[in-house]
């Protein structure tokens, strides 16, 4: 094999790579373009004309704001629940040995491995069996099942890479449990929690399947979009919302990427 890094890739490979990337990202660009089309009943290519009127229309639609607000609140609370439960669970699994430890680890990860439709049906049956009415909290409950997994996975990986003697060293130097958590554990897992939390937020924010089963009549943003596509009225509004969502979610994802990029060195592996 050649190890010459300056050697240029063959032309065929370059074209294939370019086509692959275009295939992934052109449809997103299409969404952006349709947000400015003058045709409101169907997606017509090429757009007959361009306009910015849909931005204003979207701004003045109360249903958009309601759906957005519900989605943000659900995602925020689900992420918060996931941060607390996921961190505690990760700490237990990686810091101590107990009977059934591997089983607990597997059971925590299971919800994300299961198809969402199973989780959804299971939760819906459970809610109707126990006569719990659909509410904000049933959505949060549904979302927390997979948000916990994301935080747990991030935290458990970081805990494993953090030397256990750091905590003992902190105790040894006179710090009690709370101080040790505040000054040693938290700084060492903070970036992992931030990355896990952002991912959890993003997952919750665009979740459709589990939400359909646990939301009742409430509309989160993705469900609002789905319904909107069926109705041929002010279609570009959906595209405006989609465009804003892409722009707003891209920033935290880039931020999370940069924050965790340098996290590969093992914390406390000092020799």
């Amino acid at each position: 094999m050649r190890s010459d890094r300056s050697q240029s890739a063959p032309l065929g490979l370059k074209i294939a790579a370019t086509c692959g990337l275009l295939f992934l990202h052109l449809p997103i660009l299409l969404i952006f373009i349709y947000a400015f089309t003058t045709e409101e009943k169907s997606y017509q290519w090429p757009p007959p004309g361009l306009t910015t009127q849909w931005l204003a229309v979207t701004w003045n639609r109360p249903d958009v704001w309601e759906a957005l607000s519900l989605s943000v609140r659900v995602a925020a609370i689900s992420t918060l629940v996931a941060l607390v439960l996921g961190t505690l669970c990760a700490a237990a699994v990686s810091r101590s040995r107990f009977f059934g430890r591997e089983t607990v680890s597997l059971l925590v990860i299971l919800p994300i491995a299961l198809p969402g439709i199973i989780t959804g049906i299971a939760l819906r049956s459970a809610f109707s069996l126990t006569d719990i009415p659909f509410s904000f909290w049933t959505i949060v409950l549904g979302h927390a099942t997979f948000c916990v997994v994301v935080v747990y996975n991030n935290a458990v990986a970081r805990f494993r890479r953090t030397s256990g003697s750091l905590i003992e060293a902190s105790y040894d130097l006179g710090a009690d449990g709370f101080q040790t958590f505040r000054y040693v554990v938290l700084p060492n897992i903070a970036t992992a929690l931030l990355a896990g939390g952002m991912l959890a937020f993003a997952l919750s924010f665009d979740e459709v399947i589990v939400t359909t089963f646990t939301a009742g009549q409430q509309q989160t943003l993705p469900i609002w979009m789905l319904e909107e596509l069926i109705r041929p009225r002010q279609r570009p509004v959906t595209n405006v919302v989609a465009m804003v969502v892409v722009l707003v979610t891209l920033l935290p994802i880039l931020l999370a990427y940069y924050l965790t990029r340098d996290g590969d060195q093992v914390a406390g592996s000092g020799k």
């Binding site: 003697s165 003992e168 060293a169 006179g174 101080q179 020799k271």
Partner: protein, 337 residues
């Protein structure tokens, strides 16, 4: 109880620490005097590190009592003991710079910022790392991290400093320097040092007293000279100073008593003439060690090691030789035959 001159720094009374069926430490009695440089020596799994963790408070005894300067230590968490540890892997906090690492103990005790940073600077100067405060632990060499770990412990002015194999990760030259430094630091500060090691050379050269551990028990406690020259058991003779262990039959023939005995390698003299009371042997191994050469001798179904100083003529492998030793050089051990 008020600590006085006679109160031991650390006292173990009938202490046991069992992990299920494993008796890591079993029925242990030990007094470590205040201001002493004490070494716990033993192979891995002998219970020496568990003992250290019992003093630090990371382990609680299954039975028995531990006192630190006269105060009962069972049930007292590590953060309420006036004892600090230098960890084997140093356990420096990777998210803090060197100065904040050293000041950590003072920070959690609520000492003001200027005061604690000044104390940390002084501690760094004490371990000869002045001006290293702004660096991250990841930017330091192994030897420097070791010094930072030492400063981080000493800045709290502990009554007892525990060192868990602190020199294990360092190369030979650095290790020798650190040995001397630790020793002079301990003398200067007057703090009780308890030091865990599996390296008998390190234990003998640094400690005022040595406890030799095996299988959760202390085999012998004494000064390095006692441990080296008068081992009480075969294990101690074998583990410390690689003495020759002599079986009762052999000892009876040359020392007149039917006991286990030990003979240090340097007490054996190789001779040319096979007459008199010289013992015939065959050289089965020659290892050059620099200052001396180590010979493996096979005689009477026994393998003995002899140490020949450099400069003298050294026999070759396979040579038939004879050796003698001063009868008084045989040390009789307590262990029953």
């Amino acid at each position: 109880m008020i600590a006085n001159e006679m109160t031991p720094a650390v006292s173990f009374q009938n202490v046991a620490r069992h992990f299920g069926a494993v008796k890591a430490v079993d029925a242990l009695d030990l007094d470590i005097a205040a201001g002493e440089f004490f070494a716990m020596l033993g192979p891995s799994g002998s219970g020496k590190t568990t003992c250290l963790r019992l003093i630090a408070g990371f382990e609680q005894p299954t039975a028995g009592t531990i006192s630190i300067f006269g105060e009962r230590a069972e049930g007292v968490p590590p953060y309420r003991r006036n004892v600090n540890t230098v960890f084997q892997d140093y356990a420096l906090f990777p998210h803090l710079n060197v100065l904040d690492n050293v000041a950590y103990g003072l920070m959690v005790k609520g000492v003001g910022k200027t005061e604690r940073l000044k104390a940390a600077e002084e501690a760094l100067a004490l371990v000869q790392l002045p001006g290293y405060g702004a660096r991250r632990p990841g930017q330091l060499s192994g030897g420097q991290r070791q010094r930072v770990a030492l400063a981080r412990a000493l800045v709290n002015q502990p009554k007892v400093l525990l060192l868990d194999e602190p020199l294990g990760a360092l190369d030979l030259k650095l290790r020798e320097n650190m040995q001397e430094e630790l020793k002079s630091l301990q003398k200067a500060l007057g703090i009780t040092f308890v030091f865990v090691t599996h390296d008998q050379g390190e234990a003998l050269s640094m400690a005022d007293r040595v406890a030799v551990f095996n299988e959760g028990k202390i085999m012998q406690v004494g000064s390095p000279q006692e441990i080296y020259q008068r081992p009480k058991t075969r294990f101690v003779a074998d583990f410390v100073g690689s003495s020759n262990v002599l079986p009762p039959d052999f000892v009876q023939r040359y020392a007149g008593q039917r006991r286990w005995g030990s003979l240090r390698p340097e007490a054996i003299r190789i001779t040319r003439d096979a007459g008199g009371d010289a013992i015939q042997a065959r050289v089965s191994g020659v290892s050059y060690l620099g200052a001396s050469t180590r010979l493996a001798l096979d005689t009477e179904g026994l393998r003995l090691h002899a140490s020949v100083p450099s400069g003298s003529t050294v026999p070759e492998q396979g040579d038939a030789i004879a050796f003698t030793f001063n009868r008084d050089a045989i040390h009789l051990m307590d262990e029953a035959p």
